[in-house]
Protein backbone atom coordinates (compact mmCIF):
# COMPACT_ATOMS: atom_id res chain seq x y z
CA UNK A 1 0.00 0.00 0.00
CA UNK A 2 1.46 3.37 -1.04
CA UNK A 3 2.26 5.74 1.80
CA UNK A 4 2.40 9.43 0.91
CA UNK A 5 4.39 10.28 4.04
CA UNK A 6 7.48 8.70 2.45
CA UNK A 7 9.63 10.71 0.06
CA UNK A 8 10.78 7.39 -1.45
CA UNK A 9 8.28 4.57 -1.60
CA UNK A 10 9.42 1.18 -2.92
CA UNK A 11 6.74 -1.43 -3.50
CA UNK A 12 7.45 -5.09 -4.27
CA UNK A 13 10.48 -4.36 -6.43
CA UNK A 14 12.31 -7.21 -8.11
CA UNK A 15 15.33 -7.05 -10.35
CA UNK A 16 17.45 -9.65 -12.05
CA UNK A 17 20.31 -9.58 -14.55
CA UNK A 18 20.98 -11.85 -17.49
CA UNK A 19 24.35 -13.41 -18.12
CA UNK A 20 23.95 -15.29 -21.37
CA UNK A 21 21.14 -17.74 -20.87
CA UNK A 22 21.44 -17.51 -17.10
CA UNK A 23 19.11 -15.25 -15.09
CA UNK A 24 20.63 -13.92 -11.85
CA UNK A 25 18.02 -12.61 -9.38
CA UNK A 26 19.40 -9.62 -7.46
CA UNK A 27 16.40 -8.09 -5.67
CA UNK A 28 13.35 -10.07 -4.62
CA UNK A 29 10.10 -8.22 -3.90
CA UNK A 30 11.65 -5.44 -1.84
CA UNK A 31 9.33 -2.96 -0.14
CA UNK A 32 10.71 0.03 1.69
CA UNK A 33 9.59 3.52 2.66
CA UNK A 34 12.03 6.34 3.31
CA UNK A 35 10.72 9.43 5.11
CA UNK A 36 11.76 12.92 4.02
CA UNK A 37 14.96 14.07 5.71
CA UNK A 38 16.02 10.56 6.63
CA UNK A 39 19.65 9.48 6.53
CA UNK A 40 19.29 5.85 5.51
CA UNK A 41 22.22 3.51 5.27
CA UNK A 42 22.04 0.28 3.30
CA UNK A 43 24.47 -2.38 4.40
CA UNK A 44 25.03 -5.95 3.40
CA UNK A 45 27.60 -8.30 1.96
CA UNK A 46 28.96 -7.93 -1.55
CA UNK A 47 26.45 -9.04 -4.18
CA UNK A 48 23.51 -8.55 -1.84
CA UNK A 49 21.89 -6.01 -4.19
CA UNK A 50 22.64 -2.76 -2.30
CA UNK A 51 24.02 -0.84 -5.29
CA UNK A 52 21.31 -2.24 -7.54
CA UNK A 53 18.63 -0.95 -5.19
CA UNK A 54 20.40 2.41 -4.99
CA UNK A 55 20.56 2.60 -8.82
CA UNK A 56 16.85 1.83 -9.08
CA UNK A 57 15.97 4.53 -6.53
CA UNK A 58 18.20 7.01 -8.38
CA UNK A 59 16.63 6.21 -11.74
CA UNK A 60 19.79 4.76 -13.25
CA UNK A 61 18.16 1.42 -14.00
CA UNK A 62 14.69 -0.02 -14.56
CA UNK A 63 12.82 -2.42 -12.27
CA UNK A 64 11.62 -5.78 -13.56
CA UNK A 65 8.61 -5.77 -11.29
CA UNK A 66 7.15 -3.48 -8.67
CA UNK A 67 7.00 0.32 -8.36
CA UNK A 68 9.21 3.08 -7.08
CA UNK A 69 7.88 6.53 -6.27
CA UNK A 70 10.18 9.44 -5.46
CA UNK A 71 8.40 12.59 -4.32
CA UNK A 72 5.20 12.73 -6.36
CA UNK A 73 6.50 10.82 -9.35
CA UNK A 74 6.48 7.13 -10.06
CA UNK A 75 9.85 6.76 -11.70
CA UNK A 76 9.62 3.05 -12.47
CA UNK A 77 7.44 3.77 -15.49
CA UNK A 78 9.55 6.56 -16.99
CA UNK A 79 11.43 6.26 -20.28
CA UNK A 80 15.22 6.56 -20.49
CA UNK A 81 15.15 10.22 -21.59
CA UNK A 82 12.46 11.17 -19.05
CA UNK A 83 14.54 9.55 -16.33
CA UNK A 84 17.60 11.55 -17.44
CA UNK A 85 15.67 14.83 -17.15
CA UNK A 86 14.23 13.75 -13.82
CA UNK A 87 17.65 12.83 -12.41
CA UNK A 88 19.03 16.25 -13.37
CA UNK A 89 16.72 18.01 -10.92
CA UNK A 90 15.81 15.40 -8.32
CA UNK A 91 18.86 13.27 -7.57
CA UNK A 92 22.33 14.18 -6.34
CA UNK A 93 24.99 11.51 -6.81
CA UNK A 94 28.08 10.81 -4.72
CA UNK A 95 30.30 7.99 -5.94
CA UNK A 96 33.10 6.03 -4.33
CA UNK A 97 35.68 7.32 -6.81
CA UNK A 98 34.35 10.92 -6.87
CA UNK A 99 33.88 10.81 -10.66
CA UNK A 100 34.75 14.43 -11.26
CA UNK A 101 35.46 15.55 -14.83
CA UNK A 102 39.26 15.90 -14.89
CA UNK A 103 39.43 18.74 -17.42
CA UNK A 104 37.10 20.96 -15.40
CA UNK A 105 37.96 22.95 -12.28
CA UNK A 106 36.23 22.37 -8.94
CA UNK A 107 33.98 25.34 -9.71
CA UNK A 108 33.12 24.03 -13.18
CA UNK A 109 32.46 20.50 -11.89
CA UNK A 110 29.96 21.85 -9.39
CA UNK A 111 28.45 24.13 -12.03
CA UNK A 112 28.00 21.24 -14.47
CA UNK A 113 24.55 19.99 -13.32
CA UNK A 114 23.33 23.57 -13.02
CA UNK A 115 23.84 24.13 -16.75
CA UNK A 116 20.71 22.02 -17.27
CA UNK A 117 18.67 24.19 -14.89
CA UNK A 118 18.19 27.27 -17.05
CA UNK A 119 19.72 29.53 -14.41
CA UNK A 120 21.67 32.58 -15.53
CA UNK A 121 25.45 32.59 -15.33
CA UNK A 122 25.32 34.93 -12.32
CA UNK A 123 22.82 32.73 -10.50
CA UNK A 124 24.89 29.66 -11.22
CA UNK A 125 27.97 31.37 -9.84
CA UNK A 126 26.14 32.23 -6.61
CA UNK A 127 24.87 28.66 -6.18
CA UNK A 128 28.29 27.16 -6.87
CA UNK A 129 30.10 29.51 -4.50
CA UNK A 130 27.59 28.75 -1.75
CA UNK A 131 27.96 25.00 -2.29
CA UNK A 132 31.75 25.15 -2.28
CA UNK A 133 31.69 27.33 0.82
CA UNK A 134 29.53 24.71 2.56
CA UNK A 135 32.09 22.02 1.84
CA UNK A 136 34.86 24.48 2.83
CA UNK A 137 36.55 24.52 -0.57
CA UNK A 138 35.97 28.13 -1.56
CA UNK A 139 39.74 28.59 -1.81
CA UNK A 140 40.09 25.62 -4.20
CA UNK A 141 37.54 26.70 -6.81
CA UNK A 142 40.05 26.99 -9.64
CA UNK A 143 41.84 23.75 -8.91
CA UNK A 144 41.42 20.76 -11.15
CA UNK A 145 40.67 17.36 -9.58
CA UNK A 146 44.30 16.24 -9.97
CA UNK A 147 45.37 19.16 -7.81
CA UNK A 148 43.07 18.10 -4.96
CA UNK A 149 43.38 15.33 -2.38
CA UNK A 150 40.91 12.43 -2.36
CA UNK A 151 38.94 13.97 0.50
CA UNK A 152 38.79 17.33 -1.23
CA UNK A 153 37.65 15.70 -4.46
CA UNK A 154 34.87 13.91 -2.59
CA UNK A 155 33.81 17.21 -1.00
CA UNK A 156 33.64 18.75 -4.51
CA UNK A 157 31.51 15.75 -5.55
CA UNK A 158 29.21 16.36 -2.56
CA UNK A 159 28.89 20.03 -3.55
CA UNK A 160 28.05 18.94 -7.10
CA UNK A 161 25.44 16.53 -5.69
CA UNK A 162 23.49 19.07 -3.63
CA UNK A 163 24.02 22.26 -5.66
CA UNK A 164 20.78 21.64 -7.60
CA UNK A 165 18.87 21.15 -4.33
CA UNK A 166 17.73 17.64 -5.33
CA UNK A 167 14.92 15.66 -3.74
CA UNK A 168 17.28 12.89 -2.65
CA UNK A 169 21.02 12.40 -2.35
CA UNK A 170 22.38 8.94 -3.12
CA UNK A 171 25.87 7.92 -2.08
CA UNK A 172 27.55 4.69 -3.10
CA UNK A 173 30.44 3.88 -0.75
CA UNK A 174 31.40 7.56 -0.44
CA UNK A 175 34.20 6.81 2.06
CA UNK A 176 35.42 3.64 0.37
CA UNK A 177 38.45 5.30 -1.20
CA UNK A 178 39.34 7.71 1.61
CA UNK A 179 41.66 7.68 4.60
CA UNK A 180 40.12 7.81 8.05
CA UNK A 181 40.41 11.59 8.48
CA UNK A 182 38.95 12.42 5.07
CA UNK A 183 36.20 9.84 5.57
CA UNK A 184 35.19 11.49 8.86
CA UNK A 185 35.10 14.86 7.17
CA UNK A 186 32.87 13.55 4.37
CA UNK A 187 30.55 11.81 6.83
CA UNK A 188 30.29 14.99 8.92
CA UNK A 189 29.27 16.86 5.79
CA UNK A 190 26.61 14.29 4.86
CA UNK A 191 25.31 14.24 8.41
CA UNK A 192 25.13 18.03 8.37
CA UNK A 193 23.24 18.04 5.08
CA UNK A 194 20.69 15.69 6.60
CA UNK A 195 20.33 17.26 10.04
CA UNK A 196 20.82 20.95 9.19
CA UNK A 197 19.37 21.18 5.68
CA UNK A 198 16.87 18.33 5.93
CA UNK A 199 18.22 16.48 2.91
CA UNK A 200 17.13 12.89 2.37
CA UNK A 201 20.24 10.76 2.02
CA UNK A 202 20.45 7.15 0.97
CA UNK A 203 23.91 5.69 1.38
CA UNK A 204 25.35 2.28 0.58
CA UNK A 205 28.40 1.36 2.59
CA UNK A 206 30.46 -1.45 4.04
CA UNK A 207 32.02 0.91 6.54
CA UNK A 208 30.58 0.53 10.10
CA UNK A 209 31.84 4.04 10.96
CA UNK A 210 29.74 5.40 8.12
CA UNK A 211 26.77 3.31 9.19
CA UNK A 212 27.00 4.79 12.68
CA UNK A 213 25.85 8.12 11.28
CA UNK A 214 22.62 6.61 9.96
CA UNK A 215 19.25 7.57 11.32
CA UNK A 216 17.87 4.40 9.69
CA UNK A 217 19.92 1.32 9.02
CA UNK A 218 18.74 -1.36 6.61
CA UNK A 219 20.45 -4.63 5.91
CA UNK A 220 20.19 -6.37 2.59
CA UNK A 221 21.09 -10.02 2.15
CA UNK A 222 20.64 -12.08 -1.04
CA UNK A 223 18.25 -9.54 -2.47
CA UNK A 224 15.90 -9.27 0.50
CA UNK A 225 15.74 -6.92 3.44
CA UNK A 226 16.76 -8.81 6.53
CA UNK A 227 17.70 -8.27 10.13
CA UNK A 228 21.27 -7.13 10.47
CA UNK A 229 23.56 -9.71 12.05
CA UNK A 230 24.54 -8.91 15.62
CA UNK A 231 28.19 -8.40 14.66
CA UNK A 232 27.34 -5.78 12.04
CA UNK A 233 25.05 -3.93 14.41
CA UNK A 234 27.55 -4.08 17.24
CA UNK A 235 30.18 -2.41 15.08
CA UNK A 236 27.78 0.40 14.30
CA UNK A 237 26.85 1.12 17.89
Amino acid sequence: MEDRTFIVDIQEVSKSYRRGAQVLPVLDRISLGIPEGDFLVLMGPSGSGKSTLLNLIAGLDHVDEGRIRVGDLEISSLSESALASWRAFHVGFIFQFYNLIPVLTAFENVELPLTLSGLSSKERREHVETALRLVRLEDRMDHRPKQLSGGQQQRVAIARAFVTDPTILVADEPTGDLDRGSAEEVLNLLEGLSSDLGKTIIMVTHDPRAAKRARTLKYLDKGVLADAPETALAECL
Binding site: A84, F93, F97, N99, I101, V103, L104, T115, L116
Partner: protein, 384 residues
Protein backbone atom coordinates in the same frame (compact mmCIF):
# COMPACT_ATOMS: atom_id res chain seq x y z
CA UNK B 1 30.26 24.80 -20.63
CA UNK B 2 29.79 22.57 -23.67
CA UNK B 3 32.37 24.47 -25.69
CA UNK B 4 34.78 24.60 -22.76
CA UNK B 5 34.46 20.87 -22.24
CA UNK B 6 34.89 19.90 -25.87
CA UNK B 7 37.83 22.25 -26.36
CA UNK B 8 39.65 20.93 -23.29
CA UNK B 9 38.84 17.34 -24.23
CA UNK B 10 40.34 17.95 -27.66
CA UNK B 11 43.69 18.91 -26.10
CA UNK B 12 43.70 16.41 -23.27
CA UNK B 13 46.33 14.22 -24.91
CA UNK B 14 48.46 16.92 -26.44
CA UNK B 15 50.81 14.66 -28.38
CA UNK B 16 48.00 12.53 -29.80
CA UNK B 17 46.00 15.57 -30.78
CA UNK B 18 49.05 17.32 -32.25
CA UNK B 19 49.88 14.26 -34.37
CA UNK B 20 46.29 13.95 -35.57
CA UNK B 21 46.20 17.65 -36.45
CA UNK B 22 49.50 17.23 -38.29
CA UNK B 23 48.12 14.22 -40.18
CA UNK B 24 45.01 16.17 -41.10
CA UNK B 25 47.15 19.11 -42.19
CA UNK B 26 49.28 16.92 -44.46
CA UNK B 27 46.19 15.19 -45.90
CA UNK B 28 44.44 18.47 -46.71
CA UNK B 29 47.68 19.84 -48.12
CA UNK B 30 48.09 16.77 -50.35
CA UNK B 31 44.44 16.90 -51.36
CA UNK B 32 44.73 20.60 -52.25
CA UNK B 33 47.94 20.13 -54.23
CA UNK B 34 46.59 17.15 -56.16
CA UNK B 35 43.45 19.13 -56.99
CA UNK B 36 45.66 22.01 -58.14
CA UNK B 37 47.65 19.64 -60.37
CA UNK B 38 44.38 18.48 -61.95
CA UNK B 39 43.28 22.10 -62.37
CA UNK B 40 46.62 22.93 -63.97
CA UNK B 41 46.06 20.12 -66.41
CA UNK B 42 42.69 21.57 -67.29
CA UNK B 43 43.87 25.17 -67.46
CA UNK B 44 44.19 25.02 -71.26
CA UNK B 45 40.55 24.01 -71.50
CA UNK B 46 39.50 26.78 -69.15
CA UNK B 47 41.50 29.35 -71.08
CA UNK B 48 39.68 28.42 -74.29
CA UNK B 49 37.43 31.10 -75.74
CA UNK B 50 33.84 30.34 -76.66
CA UNK B 51 34.09 32.25 -79.95
CA UNK B 52 37.15 30.42 -81.29
CA UNK B 53 37.11 27.25 -83.36
CA UNK B 54 40.00 25.04 -84.39
CA UNK B 55 40.04 23.30 -87.76
CA UNK B 56 42.42 20.43 -88.34
CA UNK B 57 42.82 17.49 -90.65
CA UNK B 58 39.95 15.05 -90.04
CA UNK B 59 42.28 12.06 -90.06
CA UNK B 60 44.75 13.30 -87.46
CA UNK B 61 46.46 16.37 -86.17
CA UNK B 62 49.73 15.16 -87.66
CA UNK B 63 48.38 15.59 -91.19
CA UNK B 64 48.35 19.09 -92.64
CA UNK B 65 45.78 21.20 -94.46
CA UNK B 66 46.44 23.26 -97.61
CA UNK B 67 47.00 26.97 -97.15
CA UNK B 68 44.43 27.49 -99.88
CA UNK B 69 41.65 26.69 -97.38
CA UNK B 70 42.36 30.02 -95.69
CA UNK B 71 40.39 32.21 -98.04
CA UNK B 72 37.57 29.69 -98.37
CA UNK B 73 37.11 29.55 -94.62
CA UNK B 74 37.19 33.34 -94.37
CA UNK B 75 34.30 33.49 -96.81
CA UNK B 76 31.99 31.37 -94.62
CA UNK B 77 29.12 33.34 -93.16
CA UNK B 78 29.65 34.00 -89.46
CA UNK B 79 33.47 33.95 -89.64
CA UNK B 80 35.08 37.11 -88.30
CA UNK B 81 38.77 36.24 -88.56
CA UNK B 82 40.96 33.29 -89.49
CA UNK B 83 44.52 32.53 -88.56
CA UNK B 84 46.71 29.50 -88.96
CA UNK B 85 49.84 27.87 -87.75
CA UNK B 86 51.74 24.68 -87.00
CA UNK B 87 52.95 22.91 -83.93
CA UNK B 88 56.71 23.31 -84.42
CA UNK B 89 58.01 21.01 -81.70
CA UNK B 90 61.54 22.48 -81.63
CA UNK B 91 64.09 21.69 -78.92
CA UNK B 92 66.03 24.43 -77.17
CA UNK B 93 69.57 23.14 -76.49
CA UNK B 94 68.39 19.97 -74.76
CA UNK B 95 65.22 17.87 -74.78
CA UNK B 96 64.71 18.41 -71.07
CA UNK B 97 64.15 22.12 -71.80
CA UNK B 98 60.74 21.31 -73.20
CA UNK B 99 58.27 24.11 -73.88
CA UNK B 100 55.50 24.64 -76.41
CA UNK B 101 56.59 26.44 -79.61
CA UNK B 102 54.29 27.33 -82.47
CA UNK B 103 54.63 28.94 -85.85
CA UNK B 104 51.70 31.22 -86.56
CA UNK B 105 50.54 33.89 -88.96
CA UNK B 106 51.31 36.53 -86.37
CA UNK B 107 49.13 39.51 -87.22
CA UNK B 108 45.81 37.64 -87.28
CA UNK B 109 46.82 35.23 -84.54
CA UNK B 110 47.58 37.84 -81.90
CA UNK B 111 44.45 39.77 -82.87
CA UNK B 112 42.48 36.65 -82.09
CA UNK B 113 44.33 36.01 -78.83
CA UNK B 114 44.07 39.27 -76.89
CA UNK B 115 44.99 37.36 -73.70
CA UNK B 116 48.62 37.47 -74.89
CA UNK B 117 49.42 41.07 -74.07
CA UNK B 118 52.63 42.81 -75.08
CA UNK B 119 54.11 46.24 -75.54
CA UNK B 120 53.02 47.84 -78.85
CA UNK B 121 56.57 48.70 -79.80
CA UNK B 122 57.72 45.14 -79.19
CA UNK B 123 54.75 43.83 -81.15
CA UNK B 124 55.62 45.96 -84.16
CA UNK B 125 59.26 45.02 -83.85
CA UNK B 126 58.27 41.32 -83.91
CA UNK B 127 55.86 41.72 -86.81
CA UNK B 128 58.52 43.49 -88.88
CA UNK B 129 61.21 40.86 -88.30
CA UNK B 130 60.45 37.57 -90.03
CA UNK B 131 63.08 35.87 -87.88
CA UNK B 132 61.72 37.43 -84.73
CA UNK B 133 59.87 35.54 -82.02
CA UNK B 134 57.60 36.22 -79.07
CA UNK B 135 58.15 34.46 -75.77
CA UNK B 136 56.13 34.29 -72.58
CA UNK B 137 57.35 35.73 -69.27
CA UNK B 138 57.66 32.27 -67.76
CA UNK B 139 60.18 31.25 -70.43
CA UNK B 140 62.10 34.49 -69.91
CA UNK B 141 62.38 33.74 -66.20
CA UNK B 142 63.25 30.12 -66.84
CA UNK B 143 66.06 30.68 -69.31
CA UNK B 144 67.15 34.19 -68.30
CA UNK B 145 66.37 35.59 -71.74
CA UNK B 146 65.99 39.23 -72.63
CA UNK B 147 64.87 41.20 -75.68
CA UNK B 148 67.31 40.89 -78.58
CA UNK B 149 68.70 37.55 -77.45
CA UNK B 150 69.29 35.10 -80.32
CA UNK B 151 67.73 31.64 -79.92
CA UNK B 152 68.24 28.49 -81.91
CA UNK B 153 65.60 25.78 -81.95
CA UNK B 154 66.48 22.36 -83.20
CA UNK B 155 63.63 21.19 -85.40
CA UNK B 156 62.13 17.73 -84.91
CA UNK B 157 59.12 17.86 -87.23
CA UNK B 158 60.94 20.35 -89.46
CA UNK B 159 64.61 19.34 -89.36
CA UNK B 160 67.40 21.86 -89.09
CA UNK B 161 68.56 24.61 -86.78
CA UNK B 162 66.06 27.45 -86.68
CA UNK B 163 67.58 30.71 -85.61
CA UNK B 164 65.51 33.60 -84.36
CA UNK B 165 65.71 36.69 -82.15
CA UNK B 166 63.49 37.58 -79.22
CA UNK B 167 61.56 40.66 -80.32
CA UNK B 168 58.71 40.66 -77.83
CA UNK B 169 57.80 39.29 -74.43
CA UNK B 170 54.13 38.67 -73.69
CA UNK B 171 52.33 38.36 -70.42
CA UNK B 172 49.00 36.68 -69.76
CA UNK B 173 45.89 38.76 -69.35
CA UNK B 174 44.34 36.14 -67.04
CA UNK B 175 45.74 33.83 -64.37
CA UNK B 176 44.88 30.89 -66.61
CA UNK B 177 46.85 32.24 -69.60
CA UNK B 178 49.86 30.12 -70.39
CA UNK B 179 53.03 32.26 -70.28
CA UNK B 180 55.29 29.42 -71.34
CA UNK B 181 54.93 29.44 -75.15
CA UNK B 182 57.21 30.65 -77.94
CA UNK B 183 55.67 31.92 -81.19
CA UNK B 184 57.45 32.75 -84.43
CA UNK B 185 56.54 33.55 -88.01
CA UNK B 186 54.84 30.94 -90.14
CA UNK B 187 56.32 32.71 -93.16
CA UNK B 188 59.83 31.94 -91.87
CA UNK B 189 58.96 28.26 -91.77
CA UNK B 190 57.17 28.27 -95.09
CA UNK B 191 59.88 30.17 -96.99
CA UNK B 192 62.51 27.82 -95.62
CA UNK B 193 60.45 24.76 -96.56
CA UNK B 194 60.04 26.07 -100.08
CA UNK B 195 63.79 25.87 -100.40
CA UNK B 196 64.49 22.66 -98.46
CA UNK B 197 61.32 20.53 -98.83
CA UNK B 198 59.03 22.19 -101.36
CA UNK B 199 56.40 19.45 -101.05
CA UNK B 200 55.83 20.39 -97.44
CA UNK B 201 55.42 24.09 -98.14
CA UNK B 202 52.11 25.95 -98.23
CA UNK B 203 50.54 23.64 -95.69
CA UNK B 204 49.34 24.44 -92.21
CA UNK B 205 48.75 22.29 -89.15
CA UNK B 206 45.59 24.04 -88.00
CA UNK B 207 43.32 26.97 -88.62
CA UNK B 208 41.90 29.07 -85.86
CA UNK B 209 38.56 30.65 -86.64
CA UNK B 210 36.98 33.50 -84.73
CA UNK B 211 33.21 33.57 -85.16
CA UNK B 212 31.07 36.68 -85.04
CA UNK B 213 29.09 35.26 -82.09
CA UNK B 214 29.60 32.13 -79.99
CA UNK B 215 26.05 31.04 -80.87
CA UNK B 216 27.15 30.58 -84.46
CA UNK B 217 30.05 28.26 -83.60
CA UNK B 218 28.18 25.04 -84.44
CA UNK B 219 26.85 26.42 -87.73
CA UNK B 220 30.28 27.68 -88.84
CA UNK B 221 31.99 24.43 -87.85
CA UNK B 222 29.39 22.46 -89.83
CA UNK B 223 29.72 24.63 -92.90
CA UNK B 224 33.53 24.51 -92.89
CA UNK B 225 33.63 20.73 -92.62
CA UNK B 226 30.90 20.40 -95.24
CA UNK B 227 32.88 22.60 -97.63
CA UNK B 228 35.88 20.25 -97.58
CA UNK B 229 33.97 16.96 -97.49
CA UNK B 230 35.29 14.49 -100.09
CA UNK B 231 38.33 16.70 -100.68
CA UNK B 232 41.98 15.63 -100.52
CA UNK B 233 42.16 16.86 -96.93
CA UNK B 234 38.87 16.68 -95.08
CA UNK B 235 38.59 18.85 -92.00
CA UNK B 236 37.38 18.48 -88.47
CA UNK B 237 36.28 21.74 -86.90
CA UNK B 238 35.51 21.94 -83.20
CA UNK B 239 35.44 24.55 -80.46
CA UNK B 240 38.77 25.45 -78.94
CA UNK B 241 37.54 23.88 -75.70
CA UNK B 242 36.72 20.57 -77.40
CA UNK B 243 40.09 20.69 -79.17
CA UNK B 244 41.90 21.12 -75.83
CA UNK B 245 39.78 18.40 -74.27
CA UNK B 246 40.95 16.09 -77.02
CA UNK B 247 44.51 16.51 -75.79
CA UNK B 248 43.44 15.95 -72.21
CA UNK B 249 41.64 12.73 -73.03
CA UNK B 250 45.04 11.24 -73.90
CA UNK B 251 46.09 11.64 -70.27
CA UNK B 252 42.67 10.95 -68.77
CA UNK B 253 43.86 7.75 -67.07
CA UNK B 254 46.58 9.68 -65.25
CA UNK B 255 44.16 12.42 -64.20
CA UNK B 256 41.71 9.81 -62.95
CA UNK B 257 44.52 8.18 -60.97
CA UNK B 258 45.44 11.52 -59.37
CA UNK B 259 41.78 12.13 -58.55
CA UNK B 260 41.53 8.71 -56.92
CA UNK B 261 44.71 9.28 -54.92
CA UNK B 262 43.34 12.57 -53.59
CA UNK B 263 40.21 10.74 -52.42
CA UNK B 264 42.26 7.91 -50.92
CA UNK B 265 44.27 10.48 -48.93
CA UNK B 266 41.03 11.83 -47.47
CA UNK B 267 39.76 8.33 -46.73
CA UNK B 268 43.00 7.44 -44.92
CA UNK B 269 42.94 10.54 -42.72
CA UNK B 270 39.28 9.85 -42.00
CA UNK B 271 40.30 6.45 -40.63
CA UNK B 272 43.14 8.03 -38.60
CA UNK B 273 40.88 10.67 -37.04
CA UNK B 274 38.15 8.11 -36.39
CA UNK B 275 40.72 5.93 -34.64
CA UNK B 276 41.83 8.87 -32.49
CA UNK B 277 38.24 9.65 -31.58
CA UNK B 278 37.43 6.02 -30.81
CA UNK B 279 40.46 5.80 -28.50
CA UNK B 280 39.56 9.06 -26.76
CA UNK B 281 35.92 8.10 -26.30
CA UNK B 282 36.80 4.63 -25.01
CA UNK B 283 39.07 6.19 -22.40
CA UNK B 284 36.32 8.59 -21.34
CA UNK B 285 33.40 6.21 -21.35
CA UNK B 286 33.20 6.50 -17.55
CA UNK B 287 32.99 10.27 -17.76
CA UNK B 288 30.22 10.04 -20.32
CA UNK B 289 28.39 7.73 -17.91
CA UNK B 290 28.82 10.38 -15.19
CA UNK B 291 27.42 13.03 -17.52
CA UNK B 292 24.47 10.79 -18.30
CA UNK B 293 23.99 10.18 -14.59
CA UNK B 294 23.84 13.92 -14.03
CA UNK B 295 21.07 14.16 -16.61
CA UNK B 296 22.91 15.03 -19.81
CA UNK B 297 21.34 13.28 -22.77
CA UNK B 298 22.67 11.51 -25.84
CA UNK B 299 22.45 14.73 -27.86
CA UNK B 300 24.81 16.53 -25.49
CA UNK B 301 27.31 13.66 -25.65
CA UNK B 302 27.06 13.53 -29.44
CA UNK B 303 27.68 17.26 -29.77
CA UNK B 304 30.62 16.92 -27.39
CA UNK B 305 32.21 14.18 -29.51
CA UNK B 306 31.38 15.61 -32.93
CA UNK B 307 32.58 18.99 -31.70
CA UNK B 308 35.90 17.57 -30.56
CA UNK B 309 36.36 15.75 -33.85
CA UNK B 310 35.51 18.90 -35.80
CA UNK B 311 37.89 21.02 -33.70
CA UNK B 312 40.78 18.64 -34.48
CA UNK B 313 39.89 18.41 -38.17
CA UNK B 314 39.17 22.13 -38.40
CA UNK B 315 42.57 23.03 -36.97
CA UNK B 316 44.36 20.46 -39.13
CA UNK B 317 42.36 21.48 -42.20
CA UNK B 318 42.91 25.19 -41.56
CA UNK B 319 46.61 24.65 -41.14
CA UNK B 320 46.66 22.54 -44.31
CA UNK B 321 44.86 25.28 -46.25
CA UNK B 322 47.31 27.91 -44.99
CA UNK B 323 50.25 25.68 -45.90
CA UNK B 324 48.86 25.08 -49.40
CA UNK B 325 49.99 28.50 -50.65
CA UNK B 326 53.71 28.35 -49.74
CA UNK B 327 53.93 24.67 -50.69
CA UNK B 328 52.18 25.36 -54.02
CA UNK B 329 54.74 28.12 -54.64
CA UNK B 330 57.54 25.70 -53.95
CA UNK B 331 55.88 23.12 -56.17
CA UNK B 332 55.51 25.73 -58.92
CA UNK B 333 59.22 26.55 -58.72
CA UNK B 334 60.19 22.89 -58.97
CA UNK B 335 57.80 21.51 -61.60
CA UNK B 336 55.84 24.54 -62.81
CA UNK B 337 57.53 24.30 -66.22
CA UNK B 338 55.44 21.25 -66.98
CA UNK B 339 52.15 23.07 -66.39
CA UNK B 340 50.83 26.13 -68.26
CA UNK B 341 49.61 27.56 -64.95
CA UNK B 342 49.71 26.36 -61.34
CA UNK B 343 47.21 28.32 -59.30
CA UNK B 344 45.41 27.30 -56.10
CA UNK B 345 41.80 28.10 -56.90
CA UNK B 346 39.11 29.28 -54.50
CA UNK B 347 37.08 26.20 -55.29
CA UNK B 348 40.03 24.03 -54.20
CA UNK B 349 40.10 25.83 -50.84
CA UNK B 350 36.36 25.29 -50.50
CA UNK B 351 36.83 21.60 -51.28
CA UNK B 352 39.63 21.48 -48.67
CA UNK B 353 37.30 22.97 -46.07
CA UNK B 354 34.47 20.64 -47.09
CA UNK B 355 36.82 17.65 -46.84
CA UNK B 356 37.90 18.72 -43.33
CA UNK B 357 34.28 19.05 -42.21
CA UNK B 358 33.38 15.73 -43.84
CA UNK B 359 36.28 13.94 -42.12
CA UNK B 360 35.45 15.56 -38.77
CA UNK B 361 31.81 14.55 -39.02
CA UNK B 362 32.38 11.04 -40.33
CA UNK B 363 35.08 10.32 -37.74
CA UNK B 364 32.70 11.25 -34.94
CA UNK B 365 29.79 9.03 -35.97
CA UNK B 366 30.87 5.72 -34.45
CA UNK B 367 32.32 7.15 -31.19
CA UNK B 368 29.23 9.34 -30.67
CA UNK B 369 26.95 6.39 -31.25
CA UNK B 370 28.90 4.28 -28.76
CA UNK B 371 28.99 7.01 -26.12
CA UNK B 372 25.29 7.74 -26.42
CA UNK B 373 24.50 4.05 -25.93
CA UNK B 374 26.76 3.45 -22.94
CA UNK B 375 24.89 1.94 -19.98
CA UNK B 376 25.45 4.10 -16.95
CA UNK B 377 26.21 1.22 -14.59
CA UNK B 378 28.77 -0.23 -17.06
CA UNK B 379 30.37 3.14 -17.66
CA UNK B 380 30.69 3.89 -13.95
CA UNK B 381 32.27 0.49 -13.39
CA UNK B 382 35.09 1.53 -15.77
CA UNK B 383 35.88 4.43 -13.49
CA UNK B 384 36.17 2.16 -10.50
Amino acid sequence: MLLKLLWRNAFRHKLRTALTILGMCVAILAFGLLRTVIDAWHSGVEAAAADRLVTRNAISLIFNLPLSYHEKIRAVDGVKRVSYGNWFGGIYIDEKNFFANLVVEPRSYFEMYPEYTMDDFQRESFLRDRKGCVVGRKLVRRFGWKLGDPITLKGTIFPGNWEMVIRAIYKGKYDSTDEGVLFFHWEYLNETLKKTSPRRADNVGFYVIEVTHPDRAAQVAGEVDQMFRNSRAETLTETERAFQMGFLSMSEALITAIRLISLVVIFIIMAVVANTMIMSVRERMGEYAVLKTLGFGALFLSILIFGESLVICGLGGGLGILMTFPVADLFRQQVGDYFPTFIVKDVTLLLDAAAAILVGTAAGILPAWRASRVRISEGLRRLG
